[in-house]
């Protein structure tokens, strides 16, 4: 693994931050303002994409900005996992930007300048986290992300969104300041470093009990991962405009949380150490509990976005479970699931938003028969559901398959059952929506001819749905990167 010095990571991170002054200063002309967002998003994605060949050829890119604490640098290091996540988030930002235009303008939302500015800032933090070279840099971007999404959650500025945004920030800050920060300080005190290393950095400095405590502090501390009981900020955050729920609370923010957990398990503790001490199973059980419980709660939710939120909580724990199995297939499945779930779930959120834009309906019980009026939207919803449930021909099948192999590979078949039960529950809370949309016999409020949401809403959701299917046949670069990540942990075997 050769390390090359490159300023590209810095530019990739900064591209969206640099768009912020442009967005703010051109608030008067909507089209001009949104062109800043697109410029930032496209440039960002191109820079990220341009790093892929180097990563695939086995190199890692490194760039250091400052020595913020003695021996700890504020630095970026792009590895296979980081670029994997950055590709997903960077690409979906472009799509979401188009969707945002359709959604925000149709609903004539207020403070759109603020919305787009903080959206760009959130992506700055997301990619910064993806490329972080050590735990402290990761933590810094994690915190920036919490704060830059706060105004998006509080967007409506009414009583409900105020309460939700308090909850949002309360949970996330409690986790990061109350749990992750002390854990980080503890690790740095004992080991003198916070750099990620493929074998972990804790070797020999801690007793088993201490490692368990540290692991729990860090896994729960990065509360964006939504592991129960620190999950209820996510359903609360659904008061935000739907594009925010779609990109940030199904992809960027929550996956930064999972990303942190993966980084902590693989880069700080080290898979081998956890396997040796047999600790992974604790996290695996917590994740399993979250998967089943959140799926059951999702069944009871009538508000579409809340059902999706609880589904997200469960799916995030798939990823955590995959990593905690500490087996090559499990890790690969977890990593792949970041991308597969992202495309599937963002499609579902886009659909929820499109339905709201067109009909103003938020509840599942109100949208029976909507398939006749909005066939494209509901068709995409069906594909998204399949992907999240994990059925072919959608990308979600690949990651779930890999996760299932992981449970067998690690010899813990109990989790195989967890995954299968959860899949049934997923089907139970998604498919009736689709069925009722198309085959509801009684009279509904919806028209019989096609009357879809605006183009800017429908085209993005069709694109993400198509990609979900496409990824089943050609997982290509994602598959390669996930394999590389697994190889980097298990030494190429």
């Amino acid at each position: 693994m050769s390390l090359i010095l490159s300023i590209k990571p810095l530019f990739a991170v900064l591209a969206s931050a640099l768009a912020v002054p442009g967005i703010i200063s051109s608030g008067k002309s909507q089209n001009f303002r949104e062109s800043w967002t697109f410029a930032g998003a496209i440039i960002k994605f191109l820079i990220i994409a341009s790093m892929v060949p180097a990563i695939i050829s086995g190199k890692e890119l490194y760039y250091s900005i400052a020595e913020i604490l003695p021996g700890i640098y504020f630095a970026f290091k792009v590895d296979s996992f980081g670029i994997f996540f950055a590709l997903v988030a960077g690409f979906l930002w472009i799509i979401t930007s188009a969707y945002s235009i359709g959604y925000m303008r149709t609903l004539k939302e207020h403070s759109q300048t603020r919305y787009f500015a903080f959206f760009a800032l959130s992506l700055f933090a997301t990619i910064g986290a993806a490329f972080a070279a050590n735990l402290l840099t990761l933590y810094i971007f994690y915190e920036i992300l919490s704060l830059s999404t706060y105004p998006l959650v509080a967007h409506h500025q009414d009583e409900k969104s105020k309460i939700s945004s308090r909850k949002y920030l309360g949970y996330l800050l409690f986790g990061s300041v109350g749990l992750a920060l002390p854990a980080m300080i503890w690790i740095q005190m004992k080991t003198g470093t916070l750099d990620f290393s493929t074998n972990g950095i804790l070797t020999g400095d801690f007793s088993k009990a201490e490692i368990i405590i540290l692991l729990l502090m860090l896994v729960f501390g990065f509360a964006k991962a939504g592991i129960m009981p620190l999950h209820s900020w996510l359903p609360a955050a659904m008061v935000a405009p739907t594009p925010v729920s779609a990109l940030l609370h199904a992809v960027a923010v929550v996956k930064v949380g999972v990303f942190c957990v993966v980084k902590v398990i693989t880069g700080v503790f080290g898979v081998k150490l956890l396997a040796h001490l047999d600790i992974g199973i604790i996290i695996a059980w917590i994740a399993s509990f979250t998967i089943i419980t959140s799926s059951l709660i999702a069944l009871t939710q009538d508000e579409l976005k809340r059902r999706l939120a609880f589904s997200t909580i469960g799916q995030l724990s798939y990823i955590v479970l995959g990593i905690a199995l500490l087996s090559p297939y499990g890790i690969k499945g977890g990593v792949l699931h970041i991308a597969m779930h992202a495309f599937g779930k963002i499609t579902l959120f886009f659909c929820a938003g499109a339905i709201f834009v067109k009909t103003g309906k938020k509840y599942i019980s109100q949208i029976k028969g909507i398939g006749r009026q909005m066939p494209f939207t509901m068709g995409a919803f069906f594909i998204g559901s399949l992907s999240v449930i994990g059925l072919p021909p959608c990308g979600g099948f690949l990651s779930k398959w890999s996760l299932l192999l992981g449970t067998i590979q690690s010899g813990q078949t109990a989790f195989l059952i967890v995954l299968l039960v959860s899949s049934i529950l997923n089907a139970a809370y998604f498919l009736p929506i689709v069925y009722n949309a198309f085959f509801y016999k009684e009279k509904s409020d919806f028209k019989d001819e096609i009357d879809e949401a605006p183009m800017f809403c429908v085209v993005p959701l069709v694109i993400t749905a198509v990609i979900s299917v496409f990824l089943f046949f050609y997982p290509g670069v994602f598959n390669t990167l996930a394999d590389m990540f697994v190889n980097s942990i298990y030494g190429g075997s």
Partner: protein, 498 residues
């Protein structure tokens, strides 16, 4: 030249203060110009000494060539070079802010104001630069007396607050003087270095124990550690905007500097922390002080009162960090002197701009700050995040060291108090953001409403004058810059002290 700077950095503002006060009779613009030139010089001097002391160099200057113990000597090492730079930079960038308030609030009083301003800075500079324990007392009184006058120029309640401050401040200073007197009786010297050589031999003397207690009690009173803080909230929330930009961020921080100086240069860390076995008691005391001050800040609704209690809380951070007695705690305390100066400066200037624009102190009655004053809001938010301790602002890094020091010393109550205060600070500031930053307008999505709103927001921006906004935004830059420079500061300066 560099060897003369420890003397000049005090003498130049001292003479300039007299010149500024006198020049007001000639032209009312001169005092500002004189103050600006003098502070530019001291800023230059402090930065060149900061560069010189990097890596552990020390500058010593004997006043009028008299060597100690007869004469007064000034000694600049890594510790006071850092604090001096903080003082001078803040004094300089605050000058335009003060100018814009003095022009409208105190017409015809410019000359005495700038005279006092410079004298106050002279006092703080001298306290920081001197190596003579008695000279330190003299300059402490110089800065305190000018401070009382500067605070007394505020609103109708400020003379009373200043009187309160004067009484408690004088008690604090007297305690310190008494302590120094005892040390002088025992050692026969007032020079800190000479004291530090003799005091370890006298550690069993009850006189020295008494002297120690008196000095620490006096300094902590002047630093406003809870519960000796009674003078601070009134003085800082009623004092005039023109002078709060230097008094609020600097006074308590310089007192903490004196505390650290007492510890590492007079009594020596070993004596200070271990022999008197105070560490455990004082750290817990500071932890309680932090919690109490934080809750007090939560309770208040007037913007400057909140900030005053936050300053008291920060004093608890720094004092507690130092009393931990390990290198991480001391590092945290020293970095926090600089970081806290930057962030309280930012917050107080922003609060001054907000309250003077809205003519309202109570955050419950302020609405729409962000729409009216975007830059001020931005800076206020930055300062707030630094107080909460969100990276990459500087507040995070000092907190990092303080918590690490707490863990290292096994003082979990202190570490817990720091984390607790972070949470409460988040509540305090996000309450302000939520209530006061945005307007209460109902956001119905009708086109008419939207249009009316656009027109309103376009017309609404009415920022503080440029002379306030530029220093504010630069202080925000400073907060982030200091954060990113933490590694360099620790490696080049603080490591050589401990």
């Amino acid at each position: 030249m560099i060897h003369q700077l420890p003397g000049l950095i005090v003498i130049v503002p001292l003479l300039a203060s007299l010149a500024a006060a006198a020049s007001g009779w000639v032209n009312r613009k001169y005092p500002f110009i004189i103050a600006f030139l003098a502070l530019s010089f001291t800023a230059y001097a402090s930065i060149s000494m900061l560069i010189y002391t990097a890596g552990g160099n020390v500058l010593t200057y004997h006043m009028s060539g008299w060597a100690p113990p007869v004469g007064i000597s000034y000694k600049i090492d890594a510790l006071n070079a850092l604090v001096l730079t903080a003082i001078q930079i803040i004094a300089l960038i605050n000058l335009p802010v003060s100018n814009s308030y003095v022009k409208y609030g105190f017409e015809k009083k410019e000359a005495p104001f700038y005279g006092l301003y410079l004298l106050f800075i002279t006092g703080l500079t001298g306290i920081t630069a001197t190596e003579d324990a008695f000279n330190l007392y003299v300059l402490l009184e110089v800065s305190s007396l000018t401070g009382y006058a500067l605070i007394g120029m505020g609103n109708t309640r400020s003379p009373f607050a200043a009187l309160n401050y004067l009484i408690i401040g004088t008690i604090g200073a007297s305690l310190y003087l008494l302590g120094v007197g005892y040390i002088y009786i025992k050692t026969g010297t007032l020079n800190m270095t000479e004291m530090s050589l003799m005091l370890p031999l006298l550690k069993d003397s009850s006189t020295i124990i008494m002297a120690f207690c008196l000095c620490v009690a006096g300094i902590l009173t002047k630093a406003a550690l809870f519960p000796m803080h009674g003078w601070l909230p009134g003085a800082y929330s009623n004092g005039p905007n023109a002078s709060m930009g230097i008094i609020a961020p600097l006074t308590t921080k310089v007192m903490i500097y004196v505390l650290i100086r007492l510890g590492i240069s007079i009594f020596g860390v070993e004596l200070f922390i271990e022999s008197f076995s105070l560490s455990n008691f004082m750290v817990n005391f500071c932890a309680i002080a932090i919690i109490a001050a934080t809750l007090k800040a939560l309770y208040h609704t007037k913007l400057k009162k909140i900030l005053s209690y936050i300053i008291i809380m920060e004093v608890g951070y720094m004092a507690g960090g130092f009393f931990l007695g390990n290198s991480d705690g001391t590092t945290g305390a020293i970095i926090h002197i600089i970081n806290d100066a930057a962030m309280t400066f930012c917050l107080f200037i922003a609060a001054g701009a907000i309250t003077s624009k809205f003519l309202e102190e109570d955050i419950r009655n302020i609405r729409g700050i962000f729409e009216k004053m975007p830059f001020t809001s931005l800076a206020f938010a930055g300062g707030a995040l630094a107080v909460i301790g969100i990276p990459p602002t500087c507040g995070f890094f000092s907190k990092w060291y303080l918590i690490k020091g707490g863990f290292g010393a096994g003082q979990y109550l202190f570490a817990g108090a720091l984390i607790f205060s972070s949470f409460i600070n988040a509540v305090i500031f996000f309450r302000i953001f939520e209530k006061s930053f945005f307007s209460d307008k109902n956001h119905h999505k009708t086109p008419e409403n939207l249009q009316a709103q656009n027109i309103n927001t376009n017309k609404q921006i009415s920022e503080a004058p440029l002379s306030v906004v530029v220093p504010l935004v630069s202080s925000l830059g400073l907060i982030i810059f200091l954060g990113l420079m933490t590694g360099k500061i620790v490696e080049n300066y603080i490591i050589h002290l401990i």
